[in-house]
Amino acid sequence: MQVELSEAQELFRSSSRRFLEAEAPLTVVRELYDSREGFDRAWWRRAAELGWTSVLVPDRLGGGTLSGRPVADAVIVAEEMGRLVAPGPFLPVNVVAATLAAEGSDEQQSSVLPGLISGELVATWALCEPHGRWDVDAVRTTATASGGDIVVEGAKAYVEALGAAEQVLVSARSAAGLTQVLVPLDAPGVHATLGRSLDATRRFGSVRFEGVRLPRSAVVGNVGEAADRIAQQLRLALALQCAELVGVADRTLEFTIEYGLERLAFGRPIMSFQALKHRIADMTVHLEGSKAVTDALADAIDGDAADVERFSSVTKAYVGTHALDTVDDCVQITGGMGVTWEHDIHLYNRRAVVDRAIFGTPEEHKHHLLSLLSTSEETA
């Protein structure tokens, strides 16, 4: 989240925070731990009313950016969600909404998009395959033209909000190249296996597509031309994820400092010990760096910057590493209470661990960066 917000953005931030504090405090997050979908549909419709599902969609399609920089708007919500480890399919719904807004057919824009914006419908996206990578080159699922239809065959994994979603945007390979298909989850041949994750409220699952035959109109964009769009989806997901991780680290550091000022040992608050103060200082450096690089990624996406791909990997490598390290350091500072169910810090630990793992680990992004650096050295 930028240091300088417009008036509309500031209102968006404060209303989102108030909404989360009132309607999804940590007590509610704990209650949702045992629920199937991990969020309440009526609650999600109220969240949608705040604009959570519309900033990446242009005005003419029923959405509207607040600042002319849609991703900079969206990361405001993501960061607030991180601060309260909030439930809800914010990320997948926004990824699908942005895609349909950019290149959905008239029919998709009129029959699916309004439901996503109002919160009536939930859609998710599926890029990664079982034990695979979040990488267009790793897509093996196929979408094959057959008469007037398209047939999807293959498997996807780590699909967020699968149990709640009505539709899934599938990245697949056709003879002409990468293709995206919007698949209704109740279509014949779709086999969803619901799963859970370490996160308290975020549910995932895997899907098999066995000869799923759909009308050609299920294709999003042009057959064979989806590679760039998929890469954009991944970058958007990384920006939202990193903003969420910033919120997670920021809030964890806040309540850990508060705790350390209250907790007494050897006749003084533990936060007066230099060993802890210096750790806190280092964590603050990493937090400020994480904020800076996440904002810069949002800017790079909004501005369609040339080096946005490299930048998204830098952001995930940095933020993904330091957010979890910060939470982990805070667990250490919290002491024994930090490893109990009763203390909220494990809710933050859970979110940070899952976010670190999906859309590429920091290690995978570093590997990617190393190959980019090595390539540019050779061509230089």
């Binding site: 103060k277 400020e288 960066l369």
Partner: protein, 410 residues
């Protein structure tokens, strides 16, 4: 028993090996409960191998104990791991500090597996500062009264006795007003034990114990009244030994037996199999990390500058960017040393050269020192930006001669 009568370790090992082969169940056999396993050892003279016979032990040494459990490991047999705390920590502490009466009262049932023991040291309000215990022990005629609560006691919900560190003299200095007393944990009025649920969602082995004016016999005191800190030190020594798998707590190698998720070769093999594409060698990783810092540090400065302009950040945030950029700069030269190796520090020609990595390394050392050392920057960030307590300054409001005298005493 005198030295001549003591069985040699080798003779003992041979005798133990025969018994182990015949009577001690394998890990693959049905699991035997800790108490039953301890009883089995006791009935055959293999419990408390290094404890005196008078207290139910075998009257041998820690070397004999090690021989026994090495043999159990070699033959892949079950050992009473659930009793490690009683046998390795509490029993030896009672042996070191208990009165004759306490030793006769508590040790035989402990070695027989009849009583499981736990330590009751940490409190909800004090973990590291153990000597700050506030659980109260008050003498009342011929009894003691215990009041307060303890936490982080492993296995207390199953235990029969705890050794409890409590405050018996509130006027003495911190470490000199403590006592250690044995507390029966089952069927005693005034005791509530609550298991702690761990962050994973599982019920943990830890619990919290509440003592509401629990009446205890005077004979349950271990060590002298107000000498509890010495007893606690002994207990911590035995705890360190047991955790380190030496001394009274040695029960053979730990990578044997069931449920070895994270230790031992099989676990390492499965980790190796689960490893995903870590083609990063360490120099490559250092290069990427240097690159990442080189992107993030300037962005952070830009952000702080923007914050200065709009008022979200103060001038003191310069400490943060100074710390960040100097650490990053030094790390980048360290990476260069790794990448260049000998070529970075040795050159042809007799002239001294300065355009090499080695010179940059020497030059870069000043960055984290000049302009206020990075340690001072961390103080500023924590104190001035975040409002954490200032470092104590014993030199404030004190004559300088006294400051110097006092400083040498720190």
């Amino acid at each position: 028993m005198n030295a001549q009568e003591t069985e040699s370790v080798e003779a003992f090992r041979a005798r133990a090996a025969r018994w182990i082969e015949r009577d001690l169940p394998r890990w693959n056999d049905e699991h035997v409960e800790t108490r039953d396993l301890q009883r089995l050892l006791f009935d055959h003279g293999f419990a408390g191998i290094a404890f005196p016979r008078a207290y139910g032990g075998a009257g041998l040494t820690l070397d004999h104990q090690k021989a026994f459990y090495d043999e159990a490991t070699a033959q892949d047999r079950q050992v009473p791991t659930g009793n490690r705390v009683s046998i390795g920590m509490l029993g030896p502490t009672i042996l070191d500090h208990g009165s004759e009466d306490a030793q006769l009262r508590f040790l035989p049932p402990l070695l027989r597996g009849d009583t499981l023991w736990v330590q009751l040291l940490s409190e909800p309000q004090g973990g590291s500062d153990m000597a700050g215990a506030t659980t109260r022990l008050t003498r009342d005629g011929d009894t003691y009264v215990l009041h307060g609560s303890k936490m982080w006691s492993s296995g207390a919900h199953e235990a029969d006795f705890g050794l409890c560190l409590c405050r018996s003299d509130w006027d003495a200095p911190k470490h000199r007003g403590l006592s250690m007393i044995a507390v029966p944990l089952k069927g005693v009025p005034g005791i509530t034990i609550q298991q702690t649920r761990s962050a994973s969602g599982l019920t943990s082995d830890f619990s919290e114990e509440f003592f509401d004016n629990v009446v205890l016999p005077i004979e349950y005191l271990i060590g002298e009244e107000n000498d509890g800190w010495a007893v606690a030190q002994t207990l911590l020594l035995h705890e360190r030994n047991t955790v380190g798998n030496i001394g009274y707590g040695y029960l053979g190698r730990r990578d044997r037996g069931p449920k070895r998720m994270f230790g031992g070769e099989p676990a390492m093999r499965s980790l190796a199999a689960a490893r995903r594409r870590s083609a990063l060698d360490s120099v490559g990783e250092a290069i990427v990390e240097t690159y990442i810092e080189s992107v993030v540090a300037p962005l952070t400065s830009t952000r702080v500058m923007a914050g200065l302009r709009v008022g979200t950040h103060s001038g003191r945030w310069g400490s943060l960017t100074k710390l960040q950029s100097t650490v990053a700069a030094q790390a980048s030269v360290r990476t260069a040393l790794a990448a260049w190796g000998a070529d970075g520090v040795i050159w042809d020609g007799e002239e001294v050269q300065y355009d090499n990595v080695g010179t940059t390394w020497l030059e870069s050392r000043g960055g984290t020192i000049s302009g206020g050392t990075n340690e001072m920057q961390r103080n500023i960030i924590s104190e001035r930006l975040l409002g954490l307590p200032r470092e104590s300054a014993p030199d404030r409001d004190v004559p300088f001669s006294e400051v110097l005298r006092n400083a040498r005493r720190v």
